[in-house]
């Protein structure tokens, strides 16, 4: 009778993730090393973009994870609101800084690529702008967590903020489309297209995406463990002061 809710027990969660973490980290490192080395050194230069095309191996996976991290926080917040499992709230909290860093990586690599290709570091393009707004949402979310002392109150408030923020982030995403025409090319990858990128670039990219996904999961597990342990320690200290 294995149910996913068993992992809502912090002890069970720590036990399981402890066993998984080394595997996840090693796998993530391996796939990232393979993907990046393959991508950087063993793929040809693009005939128009030259070697700048290779930034795709950092840009696309990090952008993907920046959005998926927010989605994961949304799911975790919903679970907290509905079932009130503390691990879920802590996992959402743990994912936020990782997602914010992914957003920064995507923006920074995009800027580095855009300078030689578009001739500008930054343009008020819908995609770029909505990513910047997503980053602001991450900042607000983390700031709210940091500002509230009571853990349960903070978890409640941040999960409602995450829900409302998701709606508005989505609205902004389509509002900026309306506001300015895009410079950014269409989606490089999508599931419903038969062929996305030329195969030479595509295979190492898959490795990089897998590496980023594994890295994200490993980091969230690790950070959630840290949060659980920190909270236990606070509880112990409080008990000691009382007793």
């Amino acid at each position: 009778m294995a149910s996913i809710w068993e992992y809502a027990n912090p002890k069970k969660f720590i036990q399981t993730t402890d066993r998984l973490l080394p595997w996840l980290s090693v796998l993530s490192a391996i796939t990232l090393v393979i993907g990046l080395i393959w991508g950087f050194f063993f793929t040809p230069d693009d005939f128009r973009q030259g070697s700048t095309v290779k930034i795709i191996y950092l840009h696309v996976p990090s952008a993907l994870m920046a959005i998926n991290a927010w989605l994961m926080m949304l799911v975790a917040s919903l679970i907290w609101i509905v079932r009130r499992h503390h691990v879920s709230a802590l996992a959402a909290r743990a994912a936020a800084p990782v997602g914010a860093v992914m957003t920064v990586i995507a923006l920074a690599t995009g800027a580095i690529w855009g300078q030689p290709m578009w001739g500008t570091w930054w343009a008020w393009d819908p995609r770029l702008t909505s990513f910047l707004i997503l980053f602001l949402f991450y900042l607000g979310y983390m700031a709210l967590w940091a500002a509230i002392e009571n853990d349960d109150t903070a978890a409640d408030l941040t999960s409602v903020l995450c829900l409302v923020g998701s709606v508005f982030a989505l609205l902004s995403r389509y509002a900026v489309n309306f506001w300015n025409q895009g410079l950014h090319q269409g989606a490089s990858l999508s599931l419903d297209k038969e062929k996305n990128v030329a195969d030479v670039f595509y295979h190492p990219l898959l490795f990089c995406i897998a590496g980023f996904v594994l890295l994200f999961i490993a980091l969230v597990f690790l950070r959630t463990q840290t949060e659980i342990r920190a909270r236990r320690m606070r509880a112990l200290l409080a008990r000691e002061r009382l007793g």
Binding site: L136, G140, L161, V164, G165, A169, W179
Partner: protein, 218 residues
């Protein structure tokens, strides 16, 4: 409900309530812009719709933390929460009072300020309509932010960080209506979008605001 609304508006209008501060802030923003970008009236006319929207948004933001803070400090918020009035109605009334006390004066004053920024004559009506339609959304979204930060000391800065990203869609469509109006273009589509955001926010956000307010009053 009506009693609460009247009480809130009275508190806002009387001395020390901060009524008029928002308007004064709006005026200062409008006065400062030409110092920043130069007095060229062609340029001013071009950026006027955006500046007016930004000014209205910022002065709306300025008064947000007053929505709940004073009631929280003297304990009347607890009394209101235990009153037979549902929490959703309470936050809706609070938002309405905020809009009547800050939003409406901003809307009414905007043509005057548009004059200062030499907005073309055909832009006045779209500006007025877009502000009248958009500022309620600003108040409702702001009430949500104020409910989130009500228990915090020095919540003001955090409040702006939380609320400003939520204002993005309203600002985009509102400023777009005003801009298109000033350039004599069709304004129907962004106007419909703006109305959608406003009414959607009025219909749904009070539930979220009430939920976080309950958490904060626990």
């Amino acid at each position: 409900m009506r009693a609460l609304l009247i009480r809130d508006i009275r508190l806002a209008v009387r001395a020390g309530g901060g009524f008029g501060l928002g308007l004064a802030f709006f005026l200062i923003v409008v006065v400062l812009v030409p110092f920043g970008v130069g007095p060229d009236s062609g340029l001013l006319a071009r950026i006027a719709p955006g500046i007016l929207w930004l000014g209205a948004l910022l002065s709306c933001l300025l008064s947000l933390d007053r929505i709940f803070a004073l009631d929280w400090e003297d304990g009347s918020l607890d009394l209101l929460a235990t009153a037979p009035l549902p929490m959703e109605a309470l936050v809706s009334v609070k938002a309405l009072a905020h809009w009547l006390a800050t939003g409406v004066p901003l809307v009414l004053a905007s043509p005057l300020f548009a004059l200062l920024l030499s907005l073309p004559p055909e832009g006045y009506l779209p500006l007025l309509v877009s502000l009248a339609l958009g500022t309620p959304a600003l108040s409702v979204i702001g009430t949500f932010g104020a409910a989130l930060t009500v228990g915090l000391k020095r919540g003001g800065l955090l409040l702006s960080l939380l609320v400003l990203p939520l204002y993005v869609p309203t600002l985009i469509f509102g400023a777009e209506v005003a801009r298109r109006g000033a350039e004599g273009l069709e304004t129907g589509v962004p106007l419909a979008m703006l109305a959608g955001i406003t009414f959607g926010a009025i219909a749904l956000l009070p539930f979220a605001s009430a939920a976080v307010l309950r958490v904060n009053l626990r």
